[in-house]
Symmetry: C2
Subunit: 366 residues, 2 copies
């Protein structure tokens, strides 16, 4: 390891300038300084100018810590994201973070163990008096949910439902999406079905499983080879191998997330020499970016991240403005995106926004 250390010039470390100092230099009162930096405060043009001039000279920056102590609003929201290789979480985090920046909020990030849930870290986060909490795919004990509600702190589950009436949720349509996937594979003529499960204690994983198996059961198909993938690369890999190695190798496989589905694609192709869409059908859920790459061409049910984010923001803003802590549960519809990884049914395929989607009601337009 090459290193180069530079002894820094011993600039006299100035503490950040305070409003008081600015006031002195500008020859005004300290509250004038405060007003100059508050949009919509009543202050004269010239006073403001004097303040701004002095502020610039001193490199003054209002201390938001002090401000939030008195206003009781930090303009910070906490976002929990599970430690995981699943790109969906990062896409969500990115979109949320950008959206929050747009409405003037900062993000306090905390990574949580996906099986432990967010409780352990939450204790710490609450001490920072965040204005809201978004939990991406992580659970929260009802104890904490209650406490947050009592504190008037809005908490929103993103991509996970919650039984608690104290927290809101915004999710994709897991139940319907998984049913659609099942219907799609069934309509394509498949007979032997497999399933790579997510985490058992995640509502998302359970709903996707319930939708899939529920539909198939209604068609008289009850034996579904199931393996636990736990949303992890390594475990999904093992699960897929086990499925493909088993005596009753399925000819259609639904993975509870795109991330696990592309693992399946990798394993099926490179380890078993199977050609997806021909020798075997593989479908996922989420429609992450990678799913659209030609090398994967994953058929999947989409989660509309932009709409989900917009809804999340709306919910929080609503809470911030008036103070009514109403909780709501949103289920955002997606679309079955048809690509090459799964055999296609004869009917129902239509083109929409430059993509092939499946709408079983419609007639085929291929």
């Amino acid at each position: 390891m090459k290193t180069k250390v530079v002894k820094s010039d011993t600039h006299l470390r100035r503490r950040p300038a305070t409003a008081h100092e600015v006031a002195r230099h500008a020859g005004v009162s300290q509250s004038a300084v405060s007003r100059a930096f508050t949009t919509g405060a009543s202050i004269g043009m010239q006073t403001r100018a004097k303040v701004m001039e002095a502020a610039k000279r001193l490199g003054y920056r209002p201390n938001l810590v002090a401000r939030s102590l008195i206003t009781r609003r930090s303009n910070i929201v906490g976002i929990a994201v599970p430690v995981s290789e699943n790109p969906f979480y990062y896409a969500a985090l990115d979109a949320l973070s950008l959206a929050f920046a747009n409405i003037g909020y900062r993000v306090l990030l905390f990574t949580v163990d996906p099986v432990a849930g967010s409780d352990p870290v939450l204790e710490e986060v609450l001490r920072y008096r965040v204005d809201g909490l978004v939990l991406i795919s992580t659970s929260l004990s009802s104890h904490f949910a209650d406490e947050c509600m009592q504190l008037g702190l809005p908490v929103i589950h993103f991509n996970r439902k919650t039984d608690s009436r104290c927290a809101s949720s915004v999710t994709g349509d897991n139940l319907h999406g998984a049913r659609m996937i099942a219907a799609f594979l069934h309509a394509a003529g498949h007979k032997r079905f497999g399933f790579i499960a997510g985490l058992d204690d995640s509502s998302t994983g359970r709903d996707r499983e319930a939708g899939y198996t529920g539909y198939l059961r209604a068609q008289g198909i009850t034996s579904i080879e199931r393996r636990p993938g736990n949303y992890s690369t390594a475990q999904a890999r093992l699960a897929v191998r086990s499925l493909l190695d088993s005596g009753k190798r399925p000819d259609a496989m639904f993975c509870a997330s795109d991330h696990m589905a592309i693992v399946a694609l990798d394993v099926a192709q490179t380890e078993f020499g199977l050609m997806p869409g021909k020798d075997i059908s593989i479908a996922g859920f989420d429609n992450i970016d990678l799913a659209g790459w030609r090398i994967f061409g994953l058929t999947t049910y989409s989660q509309p991240i932009p709409a989900m984010v917009a809804q999340t923001i709306r919910l929080l803003q609503c809470h911030f403005q008036r103070d009514t802590p109403a909780t709501a549960h949103y289920v955002m519809p997606g679309e079955l995106i048809v690509r090459s990884s799964a055999r296609k049914p004869k009917t129902g395929l239509i083109q929409s926004n430059g993509q092939w989607v499946w709408r079983p009601g419609k007639t085929s337009q291929r």
Copy 2:
């Protein structure tokens, strides 16, 4: 969109309990409460017990905003991450965030436009009085760097060097790594070389290009087909297409990041029917998780994220403890990881930690 709104029970919203309230309930002074929650403070067993009991009853949580106002330390570091689809940034963010959690720091996340740099958002972040700044692959104007140094605020560039003597940096060995890639491809007998560039104003991108072209030039190879990929999926895709479509299609191609390299793999295979490692050699830089998947099997030079993160943490802690704002520049060595996407030289391949790596000095052990 299905919606379900639940009118919440109008629990009387209690403001969070304060130390004062706890003190009253416990029959002690407010400073006793403070001491009870300060590790290492001198306080009697029974006083502490009384405080803790009252605190639990009231659901008291020390207000860290108020604390940091007086201690002038927020225990929060700001982390800048570029808006990009590059998985490397997220891997870095994840590792950093976890490491900071371990030493008791929270992360204030801010997403920045990769070409604009972090300046625009920084102004805002500084108002939160973070204790340190880690900038992942983003630039910072020397103006801000100066200001941060003067404020005694340590800033560390992660995966980017900086000319400023006011900020530290931790990077992989871009120059050497890129030279290794060039040497590897050259040793494998390639004659026509291509390059997919990153961002022109990133030191990382420049070093990787300089290392690659520098080595080849020393071998008498001066004409290298270059296309700008800008670390973006879409642009890399166009760049790769243009390269493969051109009259002088290279038989070896180095992409300035793994992310662009797997785009290249996708395009080469699915659009041009080329088999990587046979019809064409493709190499990347970073060694992201996906690079190791068999479907990609990307030959690449690794960036040791754990070591880089450890170094970053060490640098910051050093700054936090004693107050010497020395800046340092660390270049962490990686390894040329040999997989299937590029033709292999006859010699120099050895196995290490379950992977094939290339060390041109050693004799082959294949």
